[in-house]
């Protein structure tokens, strides 16, 4: 069948007419901010953070008396475990055949953050538990994942982009539910202060850590300028 084919007299597509390899609306670019090793390093830290988070949420279920919070923690626990699993499966694809080797915190400050976040246990401390997750850690995860997703190559590293897209969608949804739980639990000025104080304490620890993947978690927005004499 050379040239035009026809079905009942209708003209068909010219099969051999050349097209661009990238459609006009496809603006994906080849270079990305991270090479394979740097991507693996970050993904390993992400897996470590997700693992610590789902473990803590599972542990907290027994400690919170509020029924709706108990059930949300159980549900969100699985979301973060699934994220950890996605990152775990990505690591061998990034040449790390022993994923546990890169499943590490970026620094000691991040360990200190997680210890402080998981410290509350008493049944009266549900606000602190929720604030640590939904007002501090999850916003930092969304920031780091968004930076990574927007900065990496959408061609060479599309598997990570796809993973991050699923995860960020989960994070936004969980953040919204968690924030609404916090708002519904805060009923007095004193509770506002408690929530703010705990958030500030954890934010300072996160600042010291430099973000969930350490310094550079969301890049560096400042420009180096040489001072004139």
């Amino acid at each position: 069948m050379a040239g035009y084919a026809s079905v009942e007299g209708t003209a068909m597509t010219e099969a051999k007419r050349p097209r661009e390899p990238f459609a006009p609306w496809d603006r994906r670019a080849l270079p990305g901010l991270f090479d394979v090793d740097e991507t693996a390093r970050r993904v390993g830290h992400y897996k470590w953070v997700e693992t610590k988070l789902f473990e803590a949420m599972g542990g907290w279920v027994a400690t919170v008396p509020e029924l709706d919070v108990k059930m949300r923690l159980g549900t969100h626990c699985y979301h973060h475990a699934w994220h950890a699993d996605l990152f775990n499966k990505r690591l061998p694809e990034l040449r790390e055949m022993k994923p546990e080797r890169l499943t590490i915190p970026p620094n000691d400050e991040m360990v200190a953050f997680v210890e402080a976040m998981t410290e509350p246990e008493a049944p009266e401390l549900t606000i602190e538990k929720l604030v640590g997750v939904y007002r501090v850690l999850i916003p930092h995860k969304i920031a780091a994942y968004t930076y990574h997703r927007n900065g990496t190559s959408e061609i060479t590293d599309m598997p990570t982009v796809r993973i991050l897209d699923f995860i960020v969608q989960d994070e936004f949804s969980d953040w919204r539910e968690g924030e609404m739980l916090i708002q519904s639990m805060i009923e007095t000025d004193e509770e506002v202060d408690r929530a703010a104080a705990h958030q500030a304490r954890l934010e300072k620890l996160m600042l010291a850590a430099g973000g969930i993947a350490g310094p550079g978690s969301i890049g560096d927005p400042y420009v180096e300028v040489e001072e004139e004499d």
């Binding site: 599972g58 907290w60 027994a62 919170v64 008396p65 029924l67 626990c77």
Partner: protein, 264 residues
């Protein structure tokens, strides 16, 4: 947050009342008519207190689901990845958390559907106590094989009750929860096999712990294979979940023994 969280510290709001299993069974609303008379102990809608017994059982399912959620959550937290348990085991437990959270939602909605208020019946924490075992293999065997196995029997019984009572909502929901429980029991069977592949002594200890828990929940012939057992032992779904015929026979025999030991 500490490792191994004791049952007496489980956090509840003020609607919940805690009782021992013996105290709970002495509740006149749920006592079997003619207890000790096996011919009248099956849960049916026609019984004078059949609907009350079904409501009590549904409330028991609800608090059991809370404890199952708490137990699975604690297994995520209590053990170290690598040294104590594999990463994948924790992932399974997190998945179970989600399932149990949905079961809480389903059973609280079904309780409402059946006209029951939260806290109307008492809670005992025997299920969660089994989830406090410091050995992850024993914990998983006690919870995922013994207690989730019991859940298979309970959900199948409630599904049949829904069918007999002409309640399609109850039947529909129980069938869905039953599917999850088969998955959880299979998780327990698979992990027991994997974690004790080269450790016969640990396998024997785990199976012994399972027997202890199974016996606890077979009290007075509560769960068994006889027509008049309130909770029917469900062979088909247990087989799907990794139980051998010998293991199911053993539970059936245990149920008959505890029934014969029961005070008349």
């Amino acid at each position: 947050m500490r490792k191994i969280f004791p049952a007496d510290a489980l956090a509840r709001d003020r609607r919940f009342n805690r009782q021992t299993p013996e105290e709970r069974l002495s509740d006149p609303r749920i006592s079997r008519p003619g207890a000790g008379n096996p011919s009248s102990s099956k849960l049916t809608p026609e019984q004078a207190n059949g609907p009350d017994r079904a409501r009590a059982l549904m409330h028991g399912i609800f608090v059991g689901e809370i404890q199952a959620l708490e137990g699975a959550g604690r297994t995520c937290w209590d053990f170290e990845e690598g040294t104590d348990v594999p990463f994948e085991l924790k992932l399974d437990m997190a998945r179970q958390c989600w399932d149990e959270a949905r079961h809480c939602e389903i059973s609280v909605a079904l309780s409402d559907h059946m006209g029951t208020e939260l806290g109307e019946f008492a809670e005992n924490v025997t299920l969660y106590e089994a989830a406090c075992n410091p050995d992850p293999v024993l914990r998983l065997t006690g919870v995922n094989r013994a207690l989730e196995g019991l859940a298979i029997d309970v959900f199948n019984t409630m599904k049949e009750f829904g069918n007999m009572a002409g309640d399609p909502v109850l039947e529909f929901c129980e069938d869905w929860m039953l599917a999850d429980e088969v998955t959880h029991v299979k998780m327990g069977s698979d992990w027991l096999r994997r974690l004790t592949a080269n450790d016969k002594e640990r396998l024997d200890k785990a199976l012994e712990f399972q027997r202890v828990v199974d016996r606890l929940f077979s009290f007075n012939g509560f769960r068994g294979e006889d027509d008049d057992s309130p909770i029917q032992l469900t062979r088909r779904f247990r087989e799907l979940a990794g139980f051998s015929t010998d293991e199911i026979d053993e539970i059936a025999d245990m149920a008959r023994e505890t029934k014969n030991e029961a005070p008349v």
